[in-house]
């Protein structure tokens, strides 16, 4: 955020020039009468820019300045008065666990992990396996803040890697400068600018090595150490200072070579024996949404190579696959902040902020609107709230009524985080196939009925079809396909999988099924072999086709929308192919004992024809014969059970925003959310369980 000169006047939203006195602002004669502009209100006036609070890389703010803060009120009034021009996210950063708006269980998970990493859990052996913690989740879900709060509470230091881009940042790379001498001024002249990623990466490696092995030389914080940790209660001088390594600003992982080196560095870190003072690594990865189109199609072929060149950083690019599935890495995924928790947090923050002030806090409606538009991103919510309060002051001089409404419109337009339609609603819209003139829902209130009527009035009826096509005539749909497409959180391929999984229960007759199935089949097979030949209209075609085919109105019989089992099938198939390869190797001979290698046996032949012999061999139990590998049962044995559904179907939940991401990449071995929820449901893992990995 480049400091905008505060004199620059963008036309204020109210035409009347307003004089604003920020009561908490220190008197600044040159600035205290100026037109207040909401867009620049957050910018630090250049005169106060000297303060180091906004330099993101200075060691002073490195713990708070990240802005990841899930702010909860922190009674630091003098702070707030001195620096009211700071972001609330920084001012009200939570300092105790109680202030975090994260679900208690999540925090507990992280705390337990850290505890085990330092102490080794109940049996004392867990340190070996608690090497890397990966925190994932959407932006603004308090991943970093949780770690910082726990650092304060549990008394350990955070060493954080920052990619240096210049002199300024170089000295602030490490939170504890005493530990990394090369970041200090004597060498910084030679390191002011490192143009190539090569040098950058070797520095990263050095950081990792030293941070993980050398820290016990410094048992007490150096005197120069005045940063964020001064607030954390120093552990008693006799105990060793504990550290963690925080990797959030990762090296350029999108670059394949760097990624390989990064993976290698992590591997060696994990494989190195754990020292007496373990230094666990915490990696924080914010999920980014994917909205691909044709590129995602290749992914379905089960080989998943379309992903790699997307430049998308997610947990699977950050961590090598074997590590991610291995015992040394624990993944904890944060969910979007629940609206109730967020509301509570915001309310509490407002209470602190407006305590003892003459200003009235923003109305409840505004708060609700903020929570709604934030989509579980508490950082954006706090930003919006701060903005709203500024606007409040602005509106004060105007008439009280009417300002509220205008403000919420303004608020929505300014702060609204790009909001995607929830998957659940998207599917509901398509599958319930509402058309103009549908009878209103039995439970709908009179107001809703009225609203529906209003909407219907705006929908134009299509011109009638010629008599030969009468069977295709439908009433005008209430669904605007273009809008649906614009808001869809998933790409057409995944969308089609969801439709496929769920359409049957919305059909009354077989003919309806027939039509939808044919559309699915047609849409899937349209387009060419390669991605650039893919049909760009798949989404539209599928939506329109589905809605055309489904009965209207769709009978309500408490249908449950289910996640597609397609990926589960794909995963099982992959495992089974492993079995096929084993069996093929067995049939071909391993090449050592046999002088003549046998060629032949394609994989498909093994899968289809070898089953009988393998079963016979298993049944005979003759020790003279070489046993076929047991993994062959993954493809050769198939028992027919009527009524047993494939795998376990998961019902799609209204609150799940994140579903598509997990599933669209489910060809990858690890399915993060499911694992996480299972772990939650299954209660604590004992150390014994973990040894079995």
């Amino acid at each position: 955020m480049a400091p905008k000169p505060s004199q620059k006047k963008i036309k204020p939203l109210s035409s009347k020039a307003t004089v604003v006195k920020l009561e908490t602002q220190p008197p600044r004669p040159s600035l205290n009468t100026k037109k207040f502009n909401p867009l620049t209100a957050f910018k630090v006036p250049s005169s106060s820019r000297k303060s180091d609070t906004d330099l993101p890389c200075s060691s002073q703010t490195s713990s708070a300045g990240k802005g990841k803060a899930r702010a909860l009120p922190n009674l630091r009034r003098q702070d707030a008065e001195d620096h009211d021009d700071r972001m609330w996210v920084d001012v009200y950063e939570p300092t105790t666990e109680a202030e975090l708006a994260v679900h208690k269980r999540k925090v507990e998970d992280v705390r337990r992990w850290l505890h085990e990493a330092f102490e080794g859990g109940p049996s004392g052996t867990l340190t070996k396996y608690r090497r890397i913690l990966a925190l994932t989740g959407p932006a603004g879900t308090a991943k970093t803040t949780t770690i910082r709060v726990l650092a304060r509470e549990m008394g350990f230091e955070i060493m954080e890697w920052r990619n240096a881009v210049g002199e300024n940042t170089l000295s602030g790379q490490f939170d504890d400068p005493s530990e990394f001498s090369f970041g200090t001024s004597d060498s910084s002249s030679s390191r002011t600018y490192v143009p190539d990623g090569e040098g950058m990466f070797s520095k990263f490696e050095a950081f990792l090595n030293r941070a993980s092995s050398c820290q016990n030389l410094f048992t007490t914080p150096a005197p120069s150490h005045v940063g964020s940790f001064s607030q954390s209660p120093p552990t008693s001088a006799s105990t060793r200072q504990r550290h963690i390594i925080l990797l959030e600003d990762l090296p350029n992982i999108v670059h394949p070579a760097t990624q390989a080196k990064f993976h290698a560095a992590l591997q060696s870190l994990v494989s190195s024996p754990v020292s007496a003072t373990p230094v666990p690594v915490v990696i924080i990865v914010s999920d980014t949404g994917v909205r691909g189109e044709a590129a995602d199609e290749q992914m379905d072929s089960g080989r998943g190579w379309g992903k790699s060149n997307d430049g998308l950083v997610d947990i699977r690019t950050v961590l090598p696959r074997d590590l991610l599935g291995g015992p040394y890495v624990t993944q904890i995924s944060f969910n979007p902040i629940a609206p109730t928790l967020m509301l509570k947090a915001l309310q509490a923050m407002l209470n602190t902020h407006f305590a003892g002030s003459s200003q009235a806090p923003p109305s409840r409606e505004i708060l609700d609107a903020i929570v709604e538009t934030a989509n579980g991103d508490i950082r954006s919510a706090i930003m919006a709230l701060q903005f709203a309060c500024v606007g409040e002051m602005n509106g004060k001089t105007r008439k009280k009524k009417g300002g509220d409404k205008g403000k919420s419109v303004l608020l929505a337009s300014v702060t609204r985080r790009e909001q995607t339609l929830m998957l659940f609603h998207l599917l509901g819209k398509v599958l319930y196939n509402k058309r103009k003139g549908d009878p209103p829902n039995a439970s709908a209130s009179a107001k809703d009925v009225q609203k529906e009527k209003m909407l219907d009035a705006q929908i134009k009826d299509p011109p009638g079809l010629p008599s030969g096509l009468k069977q295709h005539e439908r009433r005008a749909s209430r669904i605007n396909v273009d809008a649906l497409y614009a808001d869809s959180p998933i790409d057409s391929s995944l969308f089609s999988l969801y439709i496929h999984q769920n359409y049957v229960q919305f059909c009354d007759e077989l003919d309806h099924c027939d039509a939808v199935a044919d559309w699915l089949s047609w849409v899937d097979s349209s387009g060419g072999d390669t991605w650039y030949q893919a049909n760009p209209h798949r989404f539209h075609l599928l939506t329109l086709g589905t809605m055309h085919s489904l009965p209207s109105p769709v009978a309500r019989r408490s249908q449950k929308i289910v996640k597609p089992v397609f990926f589960e099938c794909l995963q099982k198939e992959k495992d089974a192919w492993g079995g096929v390869r084993d069996a093929r190797g067995w049939a071909l001979g391993d090449g050592t004992s046999q002088t003549d290698l046998r060629s032949g046996w394609s994989h498909a032949e093994v899968a289809m024809e070898l089953g009988g012999v393998l079963k016979a061999r298993d049944a005979v139990m003759d020790s003279a014969l070489p046993r076929p590998p047991a993994s062959h049962r993954r493809f050769s044995s198939l028992s027919f059970a009527l009524g047993a559904p494939f795998g376990h179907t998961q019902t799609l939940d209204e609150t799940e925003v994140n579903v598509p991401l997990d599933d669209s990449e489910a060809e990858v071995l690890v399915r993060p959310t499911r694992k996480a929820t299972e772990a939650e449901e299954g209660g604590w893992l004992d150390s014994d369980d973990i040894e079995e990995f």
Binding site: P256, E297, D300, R303, W305, S308, S493, S496, L497, H500, V504, Q505, D508, L510, D511, C513, D514, A517, D518, L520, S521, W522, D524, S525, V565, F566, C569, L570, E573, A576, W577, A587, L588, L597, R598, S599, G600, S602, H603, A604, E605, A607, M608, E609, G611, G612, V613, K615, A616, V620, D622, L625, S636, S637, L638, S639, F640, P645, F646, G647
Partner: protein
């Protein structure tokens, strides 16, 4: 101990049991000094690969049987590593490019170029060229086939390509026109019986003719399958007498049961059940086209005469779509729903007419 199929596989053209005309032609080709690129095609279990190995032996002598397995690593355009197993002797090399999935073009290009650019250094070698055997040529992607076509022209002096495919329909015309096409037909029952008796003699045991007949009936011209079934049977009941229950592979019985499901009830709920079964089959590595074919054949057996043509028509229709599309389950299911709807309408209409 290896499987009988491999153990008793004929090694020379002379010892082949059937298609003697074909053997004679291959033999004269191998000795002519002007060996072309060859494309072997025919149903599975007909003996294509056996004939290829025999031909190679005829070309290069017994040295071709000294095989070794190499693991080669190729780099895909996006710098992903592909590990491909290559079976090779001093004279030939055998690859299955479909192992590399989408990247088969890379494998074809790199490997063939490398082979083509190296001359045969063994002065005692009978031929000046090396042979490249490409298995499962019909699953090569378009790109790979185009790459192959170019290579076939360019490096003719150093290399001959032997393709092995089930059907020529998926190969592009330029490749077909550059090869000598050799069709290896499935053996007839007499020939199969001869082979089974030969296997029994080598094993050794006596094969009762009824058992042989049963196996042959069941195998549908697939000799490999017949020998495998024979081996499995022999393991289960060593004397091969009495009533023999030929154990079909699980997936086949499964497919039959799916067909029964389709015929017994037609409703949206049944569609879901059938889908679950299809998922189960797919996750056991059964190729979707095979599933469609097996289920369709079984359904056709069970329905009224007037429906059979339609059902097969739609099976073919959705099979094409399956090849074009990426999510096989859609097309399988679309076919099932179509069949159910046809079947239901058939009965519905019949009821109406009898009512009149």
């Amino acid at each position: 101990m290896s499987l009988w199929v491999d153990q008793f596989r004929p090694r020379t053209l002379d010892s082949l049991h059937y298609h003697h005309g074909l053997s004679a032609r291959l033999k004269s080709l191998a000795s002519s000094g002007d060996f072309p690129h060859i494309l072997f095609y025919g149903p599975s279990g007909a003996g294509k690969k056996t004939r290829i190995t025999c031909t190679l032996r005829e070309l290069f002598g017994p040295g071709v049987e000294k095989l070794k397995i190499d693991q080669r690593i190729f780099l895909s355009p996006s710098k992903r590593k592909l590990e491909i197993n290559i079976v090779q002797s001093n004279f030939h090399i055998e690859i299955t490019p479909s192992d590399a999935g989408n990247y088969d073009r890379v494998v074809i290009q790199e490997l063939l170029k490398e082979i083509a650019q190296t001359q045969q250094v063994d002065l005692n070698a009978k031929q000046r060229f090396k042979a490249v055997v490409i298995n499962e040529a019909d699953s090569l992607s378009r790109d790979a086939q185009a790459a192959l076509r170019r290579t076939m022209e360019k490096y003719m002096s150093n290399m001959r390509i032997i393709l092995c495919a089930n059907s020529t329909s998926k190969l592009i015309a330029p490749i077909k026109s550059r090869c000598l096409l050799m069709r290896v037909a499935a053996p007839n029952p007499q020939e199969m019986e001869e082979v089974l008796n030969y296997v029994a003699k080598r094993a050794p045991f006596t094969l009762p003719p009824e058992a042989a007949k049963k196996i042959i009936d069941d195998s549908g011209g697939n000799l490999r399958k017949a020998i495998l079934v024979l081996e499995a049977l022999k393991m289960q009941s060593p004397d091969l007498s009495g009533p023999l229950a030929i154990a079909k592979p699980d997936w086949e019985t499964y497919c039959y049961k799916v067909a029964d499901l389709i015929v017994s009830e037609q409703s949206p709920a049944r569609v879901m059940e059938v889908r679950a079964k299809f998922y189960e089959l797919l996750s056991h590595c059964i190729p979707p086209t095979v599933i469609l074919k097996t289920v369709a054949e079984r359904v056709v057996e069970k329905v009224d005469e007037s429906l059979k043509a339609d059902i097969m028509h739609w099976a073919a229709f959705y099979e094409v779509r399956m090849r074009l599309g990426s999510k096989k389950i859609y097309h399988l299911e679309a076919w099932v729903v179509k069949v159910m709807s046809l079947y239901k309408h058939f009965f519905y209409d019949m009821d109406m007419s009898s009512f009149d």
